[in-house]
Symmetry: D3
């Protein structure tokens, strides 16, 4: 019998492997676990096992909401915004949906946040076209 | 022949009347136009004529993205968050979708923002049940 | 011979007494010095002795810039925003200049911040008219 | 044999029971689990099982750091700030240490954030004295 | 007969051409209209047609208020802060007025925001001296 | 007889010389006093003379609280965060205590803020190891 906890981490791992980047936990672990033991496992459990894989909202809408939030949180979250624009593409959102989400944030977070968000999107889209 | 501009304000009025609150501009005007002449018209044009009625993203997803953004912007936007939870319901989102959107923001904006967002949602949902 | 420091606190006291509220340090002291010894003196020195009384920008423009900043910092600074709207009036700004400053912040801090700012201004202006 | 995950939730429950409020998960569950199933469990696991009970930093310093963070995040986190001032007292911090932590934040988050933080502390301390 | 809307966009274009950068809309359009059709027009209408060209506050004070707001919004708005320092110079503010505005923000947004703002100003001023 | 003020600046100078960087005021002065006359003196007085050297909280805990605050304030304060990680090391905090402080902020400021904070710590720690 599986405990609730166990499935939180396991569900997170399954979600990331299926929807995002198979080796996401490994990448995080190599970068951060030396400094903060268990950081990679904890992040996968919390973000993907405890949030993204929940019922009630599809992955694509979840990712667009994340893009919206990271846009209004400001340009300082640019690295995370870019990663989540990638994740939004992987979750089935197209470029227009992502751009529209970001631009709408001008209403709530102001023009600078929206413009910085569009700049991040342009970078991600350009790197895809260059491939 | 209509100019692009003209349709921005008109489209905003049409969008608000159809999807949100028919007399939104009037409510805003009574409250703010004395202090800031033209504020109500300008808000309708910008928020609804220049953003929500754009192609490429449906009103319901737009509203969920707005709920996400207002959640991470923090508890100080509680009045606007409540209004946009109402607008999300009017745009076809159900309570679960709204609650999931808010709770997911714990990952990006931290637990306090998500908890304040859930409190706002509880208030809106309770006022609906009381009707 | 006065030291530079000495004049920082003294200048702050003189500025507050002349331009704002004669007993500002006393009000702050009664409220906070028990918890944080010297808080009132330190605030007067820093805010008014080290900033507002500097050369190069007039008190009225300084206060409008403060109103702008507190508006975009969000509704959580509403108490300080109201105090600084009072200070802006005392520094010679009129209601229109204050309202225009706040509304313009919609461009940079988003609509919710600007609307919360206008609400704060309406409260301050109403309390003046009630006198 | 316990899995890592299982202990994350269990450690969080043990930490909260020992250091904070024995029925914290229950209180959260009654308030939020209807809206967001599993929210209380998830919060205990993440905040207390994955963070506070970690090695390398004592609970008291952790709580003072949290008070610092909630202070600069602004007055909108006042409810959470008050709860964490309570938790800081329970973790062995005295009123002076808490007040000093908050006031220092004036340097980094500005005076309004620090003053709102002191107001929150005054409320918590007053409720203790009233008991 | 001109509609109100029409003049909002037209006024914005006239304001930008006269006070800021004649080809601002074109620059924005080349950069963003492919991603977000109509973005450049919409920005000019909202920021300049609906805000800066309003009565009741002169362009120079408006720009100083914008510099204040972008300073407290944090270093992530550095690109926009630099552009608006340029616009403040074009609107008649001198270097001292701009520096004083930024430094005063240490009181409200904290020292890091003010220091990042001064760094942005130094870059803009240096690029002028290099010309 | 020394005035209270005088000792505020002098105490700040003594604190910085003893605990941080002997020539901190000089470094700041060379960089900023031309733009904002007296900035370096004012910063030393406020941050170190009016805050860090106060009774009631030890320098090490003060620095960890500062690291916590700068982490949740977001990646835009990265330069100041790095300086204060250096100051925390000089105040007796070890790498683990600093890393734990930053990672805990994921609970309050969200994952992006914590990850950006860890990145800043990694840079500082790496520069020490390279020496």
């Amino acid at each position: 019998m599986e405990t609730t906890d166990k499935s939180a981490l396991q569900k997170g791992r399954d979600y990331a492997a299926k929807n995002l980047t198979p080796n996401l936990e490994e990448i995080l672990g190599e970068r951060y676990d030396d400094l903060v033991p268990g950081m990679s496992e904890s992040l996968i459990e919390w973000a993907y096992g405890r949030h993204y894989c929940r019922d009630g909202l599809d992955p694509k809408t979840r990712q667009l909401c994340t893009v919206a939030a990271l846009t209004v949180l400001g340009g300082q979250t640019a690295p995370q915004l870019k990663i989540n624009i990638e994740h939004a593409l992987k979750s089935g959102a197209n470029k227009q949906e992502i751009s529209e989400t970001i631009w709408q944030m001008a209403v709530y977070g102001g023009l600078p946040a929206a413009i910085n968000g569009l700049n991040a999107a342009k970078e991600v889209f350009a790197s895809h076209e260059a491939q």
